[in-house]
Structure formats: C-alpha cells, structure tokens
C-alpha cells in the first residue's frame, strides 16, 4: 500500500466483522479447526429421545461438554451423574440417552463415586480411561458440596462439571444456593415485602473451587461454544481435580420462551451477571470479555421469574441492586475491555 500505515489505535476503533466467526462451524476453515459440535463425527454422547423440556439448556450444555471431553479422551470416558434433571430426563428406566458408560448413584455423592471410578481405572491399569462427574446446581452447590470439596482437596483425577440452571427444576422449581436474588421459585414465592429469592445468600462455587488451588477451574456458557469446548479440552489436559461450571438457562424454571435459551445465556454473559473465566492452580488466568455490554433489564425482562420486578411500569429498586451485582462482577473480573 502506498499510503502510510494507520496507527494501531485508529485501526482498533474500526469494526470489521468476518463471516460466521462465532458460529458453531465455519465452512471457511479447515475441518480440524472446527468445533466438535460442527462435526458429523461428534459422539452425541447424549442422544435424541431424552425427555428434557423444549429448549433445555442443560441437555445442550451436557452434550457440548461431554462430546468435547469424549474427543479429548479418545472416547475413553466414564460419566458419573448426580441426581437431578440431567439424570431424570436421560435415563427413565429402561431407556437411556447416554451413548457412553454412565453411572448414577445418589444425589449428593457424584464426586465421591467418580473418585472411586478414577481409582478403579488406575488400579486396574487403565489410566487412559478418564472420569467425569456431573450434576446440576442442586447436586453440586448444595447436596453434593461436601463430596465435591473432598474430591478437590484430595486432587482426585476427575473433571466435575456443574450445569447450573439456578434451582431444583425437575422437582418443581425450588430454590437452590445457586438461585439468584429476586428470582421467583416455588419456595421463594413473590409474596411479602421482598418477593422472590432474598439478596445476599447463596454461593458461587467456581470461586470456592478456585480457593482449593486445584489444577483447573473454569466457567462456561451454552452461549459460547468455542469457549466451552476449549475449556473442556484444556481441563482434560490436566491430571487431578478439575471443575467447570456451565450456565444453562432453564425455560421452565425461569419462565422463558424455549427459543430464548441461548439468548438468555448470552445476556447473562453480556450483562456481567455470569462472569466467564478460567483459573489454574488457584489463579485466574483468563477472562472472557464482554463483547456488547447489555443492561440487566434486557436479561431480566425475558424471564417470568423476574416479572414481579417490572409490575405496574414502576422500576423496582431491586433492579438497580441486580445491576450493581453485574457491575461488581465487571469490576472484579475485568469483564470489559479497558
């Protein structure tokens, strides 16, 4: 080019988009560089005929994650499942949707059972067979939390994946310790002066997992498949305890349209409500930046569990508190490009 090169600064300000960069596949790149989900060869570990609701984020997240783990483990993978939607909708006896070795024991002991499976593989001389444990937020953040922390603490060679849909959904949408403030559930009805779930309770398990200094912790979302698959693949490259927490919208429990599942997951990221990051050995190593920042109202308004915040057209002061939570995440994790 004959003209003087533009300074990087002006260049960065210009926005140029390239076709399909964020899509599941991209016919313009080589087959090998594409996502597992773009391939006809994907293992479909969780196959059709399952009884999850229409537009279930958890069914989607589980196939995304397990298919990626299957590829990373050369299909030498055993899954242990906690009780929860994922277990119920995939394995109503005598049917199973799992096209891989899969075990279910109790609600709270998935991490411990997985520890045993991993040990069994080791002592029987099959170290190439890897183990994943999986559960919903109920089985992970509440009921199975002790076993999970123990597995972390012992640094057992298990990848634990939590599909967080923010409540006990298949039993009729009850609150869990992952249910966000103000959300309506069967046990946090929209009654009284502070309808919905209270502010200031609950826990964010990824942070607790990081505090165990285990090799790998990440959060991921069904709205960003590239990121999710990269994280599962990275997790599988470690030996020892690993934890991935995936945000999976629930059309039923959240009172959302079945076609909005991915949109909601996307908005959870873009508002800052769900920080997407990666940590190794107790330190945050990577943060996924917000691409197009959105106000929390964009996210809240799509869900009936928050409808009480928008009654009568008067802005409820609690919306500002939720916005403040998002802003705090943005500041704490550095979610917005400086």
């Amino acid at each position: 080019m004959s003209e003087a090169p533009r300074s990087m600064e002006t260049v960065q300000k210009l926005k140029f988009y390239q076709k399909g960069t964020h899509t599941v596949g991209n016919r313009l790149i080589s087959e090998a560089e594409r996502n597992v989900q773009a391939s006809i060869e994907r293992s479909n570990s969780l196959t059709c005929g399952h009884r999850a609701c229409q537009g279930c984020g958890e069914a989607l997240g589980a196939r995304y994650a397990i298919d990626a783990a299957m590829r990373a483990a050369n299909n030498q993978l055993i899954a242990v499942n906690a009780t929860g939607c994922l277990e119920v909708f995939t394995t109503p006896y005598p049917e199973t949707s799992w096209q891989m070795p899969w075990l279910h024991s109790l609600f709270g002991n998935a991490a411990a059972v997985a520890t045993g499976v991993a040990a069994a593989m080791r002592v029987t001389g099959k170290p190439q067979v890897r183990t994943v444990a999986q559960g919903g937020d109920g089985g992970t953040t509440d009921i199975g939390f002790g076993c999970l922390s123990g597995m972390f603490e012992r640094n057992d060679d298990v990848l634990y994946i939590c599909y967080d849909n923010e409540g006990y959904m298949n039993t009729g949408v009850q609150r869990s310790s992952a249910t966000p403030p103000a959300a309506r559930t069967a046990t946090t009805p929209t009654l009284g002066t502070e309808p919905g779930n209270v502010f200031g309770t609950g826990k964010f398990v990824p942070k607790i997992a990081v505090a165990h200094d285990i090799p790998y912790v990440a959060t991921a979302s069904v709205a960003d498949l590239h990121d999710l698959e990269a994280k599962v693949t990275r997790a599988m490259s470690f030996q020892g305890a690993r934890y991935i927490h995936i945000n999976v919208p629930c059309p039923l429990g959240w009172g959302a349209s079945s076609g909005d599942t991915i949109k909601l997951a996307r908005l959870a990221i873009e508002t800052g409500l769900f920080p997407v990051f990666e940590a190794e050995h107790g330190r945050i190593t990577q943060v996924r930046k917000i691409r197009k920042r959105a106000p929390v109202t964009d996210y809240l308004k799509l869900q009936k569990r928050y409808a009480h915040l928008f009654k009568g057209g008067v802005p409820d002061p609690r919306v500002a508190r939720i916005q403040a939570m998002a802003d705090r995440n943005i500041a704490d994790y550095g979610l917005v490009e400086a």
Partner: protein
C-alpha cells in the same frame, strides 16, 4: 428375550431413541431461502449473496460464473454502477455495507486477466433475433438470447460498441479496454455485431434479415436544449456531443473558464472532463439546491475534490459573447425553483448544456402499433412494444437511465423474447420474501483478526473513490466478500446443527445443508433463533 431379567426388572434396557419426542411439537422449523436486500435492489437482478458466497470460499471463477448468469458486464459494473445494492445491504446496520461493487470489479478484472469466457449454447434454436444498438441494454439482451440458443445480430450505428458507456461516461471512470474486453467476450459466443450500421426502419430491417423478433435499445442521444438567447461569438455546446468528441482524435477546445448548465451526473462528468482538458475554472450552474440535485452525492464530492465550483439556485437568462446573465432562484413551498428578479453576470469562454437527452425514435416511424409516452417507447410488463415481436428497453423505454437498469432490461427482455419465440408462457418472476435485518441474529458475525485490518482499511478508503482509484487485491476482496452476512440463505455455519438440544438436526454434508429430524424435534425454536442469517422459519404444526 432369552436373557433373564434381574429381580424386580421386567423391561429390556435400550436407547431413548425409541421415544419419539417429535410428538411434543406445536411449531416446526422449516428451512427457507429469503431474498437478500442486495439482490432485491439490484436492477440487473444479480444474485449477489450467491456469487459472494463463492468468492468467500476463494472460488473466484465460480463467483464470476454465478455473477454473469445475470449480468455479463462485471468489470464495467464494478466501475460505473451506482450500486443500489449497497444502499440496501443489511450489513450497513451493523457497521458499513459490504463493498459489493468493489468485489464485483475485482471479479470482472480477474476474469479479463484470466481470459474466462462464456460458453456458446449447446443447442441452437434456429430463431433469429435482431438487436438494435450495442449499449448495455443491447449487449445484455444479446448475451442472454445467445445463451438461450438464439442467433443474434446486433446492429450498431456508431463506430464502436458500448453506447453511452463509451461515448458518454468519461475514460477516467471507465477505461475503454474494459468495454472492449467485455464486449469481445459476448461476441465470442457467436453474437454477430455490425458497426456503422444504423437501422433506419425497423420493419424493413426485420423483413430483410428474416428476424423472428427484435430488441430495440437505441438509447437517448439527442441533447435537450433550453432556449437561451445568445448573441456575439458565444461558444455554446451540448454535453453529449462534447463527451462524444472526447472519443475522437481532436480534444474539443473549451477555453480557460467553462460553465456547465445542469445538475445531473452528466453535468459533473463534463465539468470534470473540462478540468482534465486544462480549464482553470469549471463552474456548474444549477437551478435548484444540492439536496435536489439528481447527481449522486459521491459524484458531487469527487467533483468538488477536483476543484469544480457550484452555483446553486441559478438559471442562465442569456449569453452575450463571453458574458452570461444569471438569475437567482428560490425554492417555493413545493420545492420548485422560482425566479427572484435578482441578476448577476458570469464570464466564461464556453457554456456546455447538460440538460438531459431525448430519444431518436425515427426508426419506428413506419412501425404500426408503437406508442410513445413522455418521449419514450411504451412497453408492456414483458418489455414488448405495441408491435408484436418488437421489444425495447434501456434509455429509450421508461427507465431510471443507468447502465444497470439497461442491463436488467436486456435480461428481462431476453427471457420474454425467448418465451415469445417458443410460444411459451411468460417466465415466472415469483420471488422469495425479503431477508430483512430483523430476521438476522448478528451476534455471530465477529470482528476481523487484527492483522487483516490495516490492509482492509486502506483498500476500503481507495474504494470510496471507486473508479477513480484502483480496485481491491485478492486479500482484501476475499475479506470484503467474507463480510457478507448471507442474508436469508444458509451458509452452512452449523449453528442449527449445534444448538439443537435434541440432536434433531441432520447435517447432510458440504453443499447439502441440513434436514430436521421431525421424529425428535420438539419445536423449541432454538435453531431458528440462533440461525445467523434467518434461514429457518417456525411454522405452526397442523394439529
């Protein structure tokens, strides 16, 4: 089953695939193709999204073939088309329109460089069609008629083919070797072109040549004259003759100070030509305002950049030697210019009138059934004139008078002439619904890798000056093509295949798109919501 079941177990285990969850569905996803706004806006009816998709993959020859299925003149288009496609492009609502015209030019130039030609038709129909005039309308009709297997003869009055593209549009916007190359590609298909061969009487010409049909495309070449009293040795010329004489041996003499009267593209071309001929000052006098000027704003900008000056709201009352009386105008409530009675004088060596052109219709004098309205030939929706078998298009028919409209007329007429010759029904022109912006999920189209950006910004800047400066090189043409969102047409991004929680989308492999497995599709609508380009509709299930 021979296998004995364990205690308290009565059923055989098996896959959940026996459970056909498709029965839950109330809405069903259906793959659709919608009409991209660029395609809808193209006067030549190009499938822009279609040819860009080949260019995106780096298959430029295929892109050229797909493009020329509708328009045989891409290198010309890429220079002179006013690209209404870009005005309609959905991407403009994200950042900037796709540089369609620039990619078109790249493909056109590459085709010339590589010598890509058009195949002669497999079969000849034995029908003969006469095309009168080798401007864009005539050339386009001849090309399409030939592709359909007809024997085509173009009779052209001028010494060279191209019409107003050669004798109007200045060289600095359209180099003549480009016209030559694109015309040669058409004649190489077996189209006969005879030059200096004016048709005076269409009836006679058809009988003498034994033609089964004719397409008239004689353009509009008679300069309109405003009555301006002139005295002394005033040098008054008209724009069409001036530009035409640019193609001759001797450049016209205009003097140091040139005034051009008019507000269209032609006025700008004349003023810019005058500058290039050495005039120190070129002034355009126009009776209305910039907003009301028919010329395109980008052309005006280019002219202003070149130092052309504008006198708005002014009419020329009379010319006396080198002095002109100018009356100031003002716009009335309806936006029409009205005289104010205020005068000023302007000195100039010459005055060029660029007030538009009329059609020379003398070849139709003896033709029965022809109707003339507003100085142009009336045509039916199938482009046929009042005379059976005689069709007309381009500037001589009702038209916006651009090269692209002329090409579109040529194509349309060719299809109808073909139907007429075969005694068939008029070809269907049913179109898909529009792929409007609200149908897109633009989230999936991302920023470019930083390394490409500096190059592309430079190229895009050049491109803003379109024809004055060079075209894109391969890297940035490819990049530009990849900016296309593929509005309304599946680009095999695998999103639907990926986002279905029920594995109910079947991938059929490259080029074959996808199929919904209705045995398992629960109708959640995620595929439709997450399809970036709006190629999936959710349709109520008949229950």
């Amino acid at each position: 089953m021979a296998v004995k079941h364990p205690y308290a177990i009565t059923l055989d285990v098996g896959t959940s695939r026996v459970n056909h969850t498709g029965s839950w569905r109330t809405l069903r996803p259906e793959y659709v193709d919608r009409l991209p706004p660029c395609n809808a806006a193209c006067p030549a009816g190009e499938d822009i999204q279609g040819w860009l998709s080949h260019a995106e993959a780096g298959d430029y020859e295929q892109a050229f073939r797909a493009l020329t299925a509708n328009n045989p003149l891409p290198a010309i288009m890429g220079r002179v088309c006013y690209h209404p496609c870009e005005g309609a492009c959905n991407r403009a609502q994200i950042d900037e329109a796709v540089g369609i015209n620039a990619v078109e030019r790249f493909l056109g130039d590459l085709a010339i460089e590589k010598g890509w030609g058009f195949a002669a038709p497999d079969k000849d129909t034995g029908k003969k069609v006469l095309v009168v005039g080798a401007g864009p309308a005539g050339l386009s009709a001849a090309y399409h008629l030939r592709r359909l297997g007809h024997a085509v003869t173009i009779r052209e009055a001028g010494p060279l083919a191209g019409g107003m593209m050669r004798f109007g549009i200045p060289k600095y916007r359209l180099p003549r070797r480009i016209i030559d190359a694109e015309v040669a590609r058409i004649t190489a298909m077996g189209v006969t072109l005879t030059l200096n061969d004016k048709v005076d009487d269409i009836e006679k010409a058809m009988t003498a040549g034994g033609f089964d049909a004719a397409f008239l495309a004689v353009g509009a070449h008679i300069a309109k004259h405003a009555y301006i009293p002139a005295a002394g040795a005033a040098k008054v010329l008209d724009a069409v003759s001036l530009l035409r004489s640019m193609e001759g041996e001797e450049p016209p003499l205009l003097g140091r100070k040139v005034v051009v009267y008019g507000g269209g593209n032609t006025a700008l071309d004349v003023a810019r030509t005058a500058k290039r001929l050495g005039a120190e000052e070129a002034i355009i006098v126009y009776r209305r305002t910039r907003e009301k000027m028919p010329a395109h704003d980008f052309e005006l900008e280019e002219a202003l950049d070149e130092g052309i000056s504008m006198k708005w709201l002014s009419t020329i009352k009379n010319v006396d030697g080198g002095v002109m009386q100018i009356e100031k105008m003002k716009l009335d409530d309806k936006g029409f210019p009205q005289p104010t009675g205020e005068y000023e004088t302007l000195e100039a060596d010459s005055l060029v009138l660029a007030l538009g052109q009329d059609v020379d219709l003398s070849l139709l004098d003896k033709c029965p059934g022809i109707e003339i309205e507003n100085g142009v030939v009336k045509v039916a929706p199938n482009m046929m004139t009042g005379r059976q078998g005689v069709f007309a298009g381009g500037d001589m028919a009702p038209s916006e008078r651009t090269v692209t409209v002329a090409v579109g007329h040529g194509k349309k007429a060719a299809r109808h002439i073909d139907a007429y010759l075969r005694g068939a029904d008029t070809p269907s022109t049913e179109k898909h619904g529009l792929a409007s912006f609200d149908r897109l999920n633009t989230w999936y189209y991302e920023d470019a890798p930083a390394t490409v950006r500096p190059m592309i910004t430079a190229a895009r800047r050049i491109n803003t000056f379109d024809e004055v400066v060079g075209g894109l090189d391969e890297t940035n043409a490819l990049y530009e093509a990849r900016r296309c969102l593929s509005c309304g047409n599946c680009f095999e991004c695998d999103n639907c295949y990926g986002v279905c929680p029920d594995n109910a989308v079947i991938k059929l492999g490259p080029g074959n798109r996808f199929r919904i497995d209705y045995d398992y599709c629960k109708g959640c609508g995620l595929c439709a919501a997450e399809c970036p380009c709006g190629a999936i509709d959710m349709v109520p299930e008949q229950l």
